[in-house]
Amino acid sequence: MLYGKNGRKDDLVVCGARVLDPVEGVDAVLDVRVDKGVIACIGEGLDANGHRVVEGAGLVLAPAFVDPHVHLRVPGGEDEETIASGTEAAAAGGYCAILAMPNTDPVVDSAAVLGSLIEDAKTQAQVPVGFLAAITRGQDGAELTEMAELADQGAAGFTDDGRPVVAPALMRRALQYHGITGRRLALHCEEPTLSKGGQMHESAVSAELGFTGYPSVAESLMVERDLSLAAYEEAPLHLLHLSARESVDALRAAQAKGVQATAEVTPHHLCLTDDAVRSLDSNVKMNPPLRSADDRAALVEGLRDGTIGSVATDHAPHARHEKEVPFEAAPFGVTGLETAFGALYTHLVDPGLIPLETLLERMSAGPARAYGLEPPRVAAGAQANLVLLDTEAAWRVEEKGFRSRSANSWLLGQTLRGQVRLTVAAGKVVHG
């Protein structure tokens, strides 16, 4: 389900880093040696064997990250991102695997489009990519795609991301059909008549600024519907980019009743609130919108207690001229691959809102499990998928530093703590 450039497998020794793998239960200062792309041994005072030696003292070595929600913009939006540029950005952000969304032009709704993307990934992808296919043809919400064929072709899952599946009966059919494909359905929950025209969260801030509100109930109503359908069909599902407290509450209650639901949350929803929109900066315009401080607190708590198992960047590159317009005219979406760890370390871990171990798990094993992928591990015999993190380094987010073709980041000009020093993806050093 993941496709990337084959080839080189690296030899490497990382010496004296704090090895931190919450899933394996490792937290100790150790050396890790990688032979031909596979973790050969973990211990103290390892012989370098002539390998490249990376000094890890004072740094954290962890399983590399998995991003379950990236817009690579191909086909059709190559001016904004490509498989090559998007996966270079992923490598710089510490990711060893990413999942790409199908809301492209044309939509990834046929085996032909999916097949050509997979072929391109095999020659261009710096880190392995999985491609999600659409649930409905053209993401029009009218007819199901040929999901079984798409799954056979290698689709990593199914989603109409960017749009909800509006008709309940169609959503139900998709959940029923899921049994055939075994691949996860990922849902963008938005009740479109409630969110129509919405530019930002409906709140005192939208009332003051005059923006049409996109109320949190537009999300939570659809979350509740989809959880009800999933419960009825006893089918699993994954909820994309949650933003509202009511959604987290509904998810927690459904999980307690045994519904197989996973969910993700973005760095911007974890770090910002609707107050940020007062800047009228089009780089804080996203769907779902930034919500209240109370919603943000619920998302942080949901991530901490595991109700929300995954951090997803929803990396959404946009051309400069598309965002250099009044807020109301700007498209939704911000980039995130290269800043996710720094933003979350700075705004969640450093102030003590969640432990580092929890963040590392939610950025790696959590999203991998949500899509049935093998979680990256720091363990002898495992393929090397590693990230070396400097939690002391402060760095300034600047446009010229991005590997992504787009720079519509809400973090431009900010100084972050927490930097990715080295990324190993599928046994190959892809960054550092």
Partner: protein, 331 residues
Amino acid sequence: MGEIHVMREGYLPPKQPPRRHLISIGDLEREDVERLLATAKSFSRSLEREVKKLPTLRGRTVVNVFYESSTRTSSSFELAAKRLSADTMSIKAAGSSVDKGESLKDTALTLGAYDPDVIVIRHPQIGAPELVARYTDAHVVNAGDGKHQHPTQALLDLYTIQDELGRIEGVHVAIVGDVLHSRVARSNVQALALMGAKVTLVGPPPLIPRGIEAMGCEVSHEIGAIADADVVYVLRMQRERMAEGANYVPSLREYTERWGVTPERVRPGQKVMHPGPMNRGVEIDPRVADASEALIEAQVRAGLVVRMAVLYDLLTTGPVPVEAPEPLEVA
């Protein structure tokens, strides 16, 4: 879990360099408003002279860019600039390169190349004046941006209230109608609250935005709530903004029946204001509009002197400080 901490100062995005614009009433302090109103008053006296033109802004250039139709705002800005001897240039979206798909950024860069001193802009989208301010060196005056702000309207309304009632502080103003779609309402709530007036918003629930009380006003859905007010400020029912099938109100007929400002609902001595253009017979009964308590023409006259004061203040005395909006604060 504990409270989420305020994001630290170092992580806030850089603030824009301070420059003097008038984009929102939020850019102004109370003393700025008082100075602007006093300047406007002195201009009103100068306009009583036989020769009305003042040499104050000779050699300065004021560009008016209107992306939305407007009669009173565009004409009063143009006349205000001319009364102060500034050179003026007016550009309307229709028939300009905007019709050819030019972006607002490029239009701003093009106009900026002529080094205008002031750009007055009206635009249907929130945030357009900020964008122009970012790409030109001119002082930018917001003549209305979408549903956001119309600061010179609020200033002229303050001027009118002060002129008629002799004060603003403590005056009770009831703003009636379609607050949801009204930049006039937003600017006025902010301006009246800044000056210590009491504001009550009155209208059907779907047309009063949720959470607006945080701006410092009260809300009532009953027209009877205007009874206590010194001033009844009637908003236009913005039919052009009423999306088809949006169902904010079932019909204009029902709106007029329940919230129209009629002679029976106005108390003797209550002043009535309206930013224009009026829908007579919809939000305001013609008998109210034409009564001696109506200040509607006084508002138009105030528009001229207040806009003269704004241009004068930006280009001479200042400063009208630009408070960069407080961005990215996590409460």
